[in-house]
Amino acid sequence: MKLLEVRHMTVAFKTQQGVVQAVRGIDFSVERGEILGIVGESGSGKSVAMLSLMGLLADNGRLLSGEIAFDGEDISPPSRVGGQTGLSLRARVCGALAHRRARRVHRERMRTLRGREAAMIFQDPMTYLNPVLRIGTQMTEGLRLHKKCSRREAYETALSLLRQVGITSPEQRMRQYPFELSGGMRQRIIVAIALSCGPKLLIADEPTTALDVTVQAQLLDLIRTMTRESRTSVVMITHDLGIVATMCDRIAIMYAGEIVEEGRTDEIFYAPMHPYTVGLLGSIANTERSVRQALAPIPGTPPDLLHLTGGCAFAPRCAEAMNICLSYRPEPTDRSRTQRCRCWKYCKSAAQEIIIRQQKGFSTS
């Protein structure tokens, strides 16, 4: 059974310059005990998608649409039903009140879900720990709240967690403040906090960027053992294709707020479909190759999410772009039961229907 299923998630940020479409209708799912890698360049919407999932968006961000099912439970935010004209004032007021109540209930549900059932590892160890609270306090507060355990029990659990993530003399660390510890140690503490309540889903937002290679390996090992032993599912956000290749069961490639390709790790690495995926793989250095060969970067820069055109977002940088790519959005096409891709190369046969659907869509909206 699927632990997490997300459909049509759309997230936008209101800024002074306009509305930034950070995530544009993504679908993905995670099985129990599975590690899903989400790969994409900065600003492709990976982190934003995960933050919206957890209900942690900044105030100017809004989850516009999307259905989220977690462990069989619908946790999508309540949608506003009001706004219909013709309703009496009374009906409208009642509707608004009901909506507010629904939102409060949803907020409370998300709060109890966070940390206990779904936990998150953040990428920057320097800023994600509170500078004025002791490590011990920060380690145990979640435990005490979710597990309803005593101070003593929480302390013992925290100590063993610190040992698990490879921190020496944990008793001393518990009394220290974040600024007294190195970046690597802080990152491991963030990991320990995320693991503390034994979550069913772990979202790791570039968990190893700040660490040196040896610690990186330790941490990845820890995450892997966890998924194997307690069937924890992991969503791993990263730039590092090397980590993805060794850790993940499945990979989703994100570009400009869309999942452009999704598939099992071997499918993505051995038979990539989307030109962007091909480009990404072409830009990794291969030390085993005997012939010296220049890396092939992808020309151009990612599009401005403030001003997106109707076509495929990757088209301006794509070597294989066709005319249709610039004006109509490709739709996901399945190649196998596990691999699908959003590119006109693969949905040519359905072009007629897609174009008609999009023309209709644009004329109504």
Partner: protein, 307 residues
Amino acid sequence: MAMVRYILKRCFIGVATLFVLITVTFFLTRLMPGNPFEGDNVSTATLEKFAEEYGLNLPIHQQYVRYVGKLLQGDLGTSFKKPGVSIVSLIAKGAPATMSLGLTAYVSAMFLGIVIGVWEAVSKREMVRSVLMSLSTLGISVPNFIFAILMMLVFGVWLKWFPTLGLDTPKHYVMPVVTLAVYPVAQISRLVHASFTEAMRMDYVTMAKAKGLRQSTVLFKHILKNALIPVVTNSGPLIAFLMTGSFVVESIFTIPGIGREFVNSVSNRDYTVIMGLTIFVGALIILCNLVCDVICPLVDPRIKITR
């Protein structure tokens, strides 16, 4: 250990500062035109007799040496204007009123300032924010004697809710404390508003929310503790400012405190009283700053007391 050494060092610096203060004030008071015994119907002979009696006819550096010498023996002297009244008894009489008033104002200003500042930062309603913001602007810009007189008129004379003179019952405290606290409340609330808003945007807040903590825990444990750092650093000067008395408040409400005594002594050229009160107030300010600096590391562990 480091703490004791630090405090000792600060005390030493404090004494040195006080000495500079004494020296500068001593010579400045003598530079003021006029002298304590001037008056319309005082003859030159009497003046000279007084000057000799109090040592005012000596060259100024000798007067200074004499004063400091006495001071080192713990003798602040007696008032010129009120013969026989020692400076120590003058301070002992005025200080309790001034300091209890100041402390009450300080505590209420801290409490209200923090509450208003946090409310301003947390509230999502534009209305609440702009009303609080304009109130604090008003509090900063309107001089406190206007507040005092308005309050006396409305609550003292028209409504007769509070007495307007003296400092005998708790009820007497209300108006002077409000007058004293208006400015600090506005100042603290702006400070808290700014630092709280900034702290709310920090990554550790996202992390705290990601742990599933209650909204109140996130606000008061994670954000407020960070937001209070600038308030604590600023509270030393503030408490000194409030405890050393306000001439305006003390004269309007006829409170027999230090502030009133201070201003009277200056207009009377009552040299010893000026000196005595300057030393008292100076020492109090130095002490408050020291206490504040010792407290700071408790709020912000990144501040370490060294040496």
